[in-house]
């Protein structure tokens, strides 16, 4: 077994800075009656503020300080979201609250062609999600976490090398009460190595069995089972913006963090999203909801972001946005695709529908449609706008191509007018840019008594002097009233 630990130092502060890096000093405090600074950003540090300081002292140092209370629930949720994203790298991801993840990576070495590649992708991906973390590898999860907490990007693959790798680490990194660590320090024991050199039974008697057990787990002498993280069915994540914004770009930047996380989550699930919801929270209004639909399941972050950009650019925000929430509403299975030797021989459905989704996002859902024949003799009802990719109904009244070709069926125009247009009559003949010559017809079309739109028309193919051809008709019984309905383009 080989464990990788992703440790995110100052997790509560990083969570605040994820959507945008603030320029003013920001600190995270414990809240409560006697608030204490938990972590602070670079600007706050430059004012002399340090973790552990009382809030009153911090405010005295920097009056324009932005104080945020620690949000333990939000942190737990954010950590779970990272675990979902990390699921694409390993089948065994375990949470190590409050600020670390453990991944069993030995099983993934072959898939990702080596440990180095996995670690590069892990830390690179984590940066794209908006976090900075330390990644360490060790044969036991406890050792990996100790190394990561120490801020070491070290890789220990051999269990025999564990003791020497850990011996220099300070004892404060252990999950032990502060009192234990303080007492050990008073005895002159500051590092893991010094602690291991002490007699075991005495150590257990004085400082408790838990200290000895933790050291044993780190060295692999005791079993160290971890509970695997179970991802939820849907992705749902919230990201608070440090300062409310009104512009599209910062919103997109924040959304990108979540979309990348979603993409990792979907890859872990072997799924693609078909419906996605982005809710923009306002201070005192109902959230603005942007719903995205995909014709084919997708988990390509670039594609999702492109659609979001189109929608956000056209959005009128009633108020500034202070938080965004991304939720995958519907996902469908989507297998990974093998790379083809000839890249053009099959275009996957996802790629083909991408262009249509983009057009819809910009031009509106109704602006992009397909047409199909419909079983009706009346020309205006013989077609339907329909969803793309749907075939016309079987048994449509219009004859098939072969029939057209073989049987000399009457011709049909390519353009149809929405409303038949009344034609002027010159010398008893219809005219359109000159008198019309009747080329073919009449073709009597009657029908519609069943739905009240009864028609009885004689259709002709007509041409004018310029060579344009039209589909015209006259109503039965009204011999000299001509209408234009179609154009043979």
């Amino acid at each position: 077994m080989l464990w990788a630990c992703l440790h995110i130092p100052d997790f509560s502060l990083q969570l605040l800075q994820r959507a945008a890096a603030p320029v003013e000093p920001v600190i995270v405090s414990t809240g409560g009656n006697r608030p204490v600074v938990l972590s602070c950003n670079v600007q706050a540090r430059s004012h002399g503020i340090a973790p552990g300081m009382k809030m009153s002292a911090a405010i005295a140092l920097a009056p324009d300080l932005v104080e945020r209370h620690r949000d333990a629930t939000g942190e737990r949720h954010a950590l779970a979201c990272i675990a979902g994203w990390a699921g694409q790298f390993s089948s065994m991801v375990s949470l190590s609250p409050p600020d670390a993840l453990l991944l069993e990576v030995e099983g993934s070495l072959r898939l990702f062609s080596g440990l180095r590649q996995i670690m590069l992708r892990l830390s690179g991906g984590l940066n794209e999600l908006g976090y900075t973390g330390t990644a360490a590898v060790a044969p036991t999860p406890t050792a990996a976490r100790l190394l990561a907490r120490a801020g070491l990007h070290s890789t220990v693959t051999d269990p025999a090398g564990l003791e020497s790798a850990l011996s220099g680490l300070p004892l404060a990194l252990l999950d032990q009460p502060a009192e234990t660590v303080r007492m050990l320090a008073l005895a002159g024991v500051h590092t893991v190595g010094a602690c291991l050199a002490l007699p075991r039974d005495g150590l257990a008697r004085r400082f408790g069995q838990s200290l000895v057990d933790e050291l044993d787990r780190a060295l692999g002498k005791l079993p160290d089972p971890r509970r695997p993280y179970e991802p939820p069915a849907r992705y749902r994540a919230r990201l608070a913006l440090p300062a409310p914004v009104h512009e599209t770009e910062p919103l997109l930047f924040a959304a990108k963090r979540l979309v990348l996380e979603l993409a990792g989550f979907l890859r872990m699930k072997q799924a693609g999203v078909t419906r996605l919801k982005l809710a923009l929270r306002h201070e005192d209004r109902r959230p603005t909801v942007v719903a995205l639909g995909f014709s084919a399941p997708s988990r390509d972050p670039q594609r999702i972001l492109r659609l979001l950009r189109e929608r956000l650019a056209r959005l009128e925000l009633p108020q500034r946005v202070e938080a965004i929430l991304l939720e995958s509403e519907e996902a469908r299975p989507l297998d990974s695709r093998n790379l083809s030797l000839f890249p053009e021989d099959n275009v996957p459905e996802e790629e083909r529908s991408a262009v249509l989704d983009h057009l819809r996002a910009r031009l509106g859902v109704d602006a992009v449609y397909s047409i199909a024949s419909h079983a009706d003799h009346r020309p205006e009802l013989a077609w339907r706008a329909c969803q793309i990719g749907v075939r016309g109904e079987p048994g449509a009244a219009e004859p098939s191509v072969a029939e057209y070709r073989a049987g000399g069926r009457p011709e049909r125009p390519l353009w149809l007018l929405d409303q038949p247009r009344r034609l002027p009559v010159q010398e008893e003949a219809p005219a359109l840019d000159g008198p019309l010559t009747l080329l073919a017809g009449p073709e009597r079309i009657e029908g519609g008594w069943w739905d009240g739109n009864d028609v009885a028309r004689d259709y002709f193919v007509a041409a004018n002097g310029q060579g344009r051809r039209f589909w015209i008709f006259r109503e039965r019984g009204a011999a000299s009233t001509w209408f234009l309905q179609g154009i043979f383009a």
Binding site: N346, L356, I371, W415, Q466, R469
Partner: protein, 237 residues
Amino acid sequence: MPPSLDLVLQNPAIWRGDQYAKVAVESISSGFAELDAQLPGGGWPRAALTELLANQQGIGELRLLAPALAHLSREEKWLMLIAPPYRPYAPGFESLGVELARLVVVSTRSQAETFWAAERCLRSGTCAAVLAWPGPSSERMLRRLQLAAEEGKSFGVLFGPTRNAAAPSPAPLRIQLSAARGRLGLQILKRRGGGWAPPLSLALDTASADAERALRVEPRCIPARAPRLRRTRHGVA
């Protein structure tokens, strides 16, 4: 021995004024042998913009493309109609052999949107053909579309008025269309490989041939009282 004149003329570096240079472009047969013979690559260029200039709709400008469109609709890619001037009529397209499940109609509200949609579709690589009716167009926009068509390997067709012929255009193929006694007259204004192309006159289909006959027999209009009614009563089950 001095080389004979024939040998010299076979040298590909020598171009004779009555020929157009044969260039290897990926193309799709137009379905009309006379036209294919005049087009570089033997058909419509597949990864380029083609301009069809005509002042009127209804002279057969779409039926000219029909064999190619029917062929392209057998592929797993889209046929896009962007901002068509009228409602595309499904039975009509079906009768030309176009697979309707591949046909996508895009309606736009402005010329800018038409250009944007055309460019997006041409570039996507998932549209076999993109037919657009953008109205007046600038050289800059055409250049963008041409680049997009090259990138997406898409057969892009722009319909425009004949007055566009005077303006320079980066489209490698420009054809002016006119109606000629029931046939469609084509004048190639520009093509890859250059050379003057003789004007063509195509009979688009049998229906047009009938039309020609009718025109010859009855030079003036048929009286509106139709002579003989072919009674085909449809619709009642």
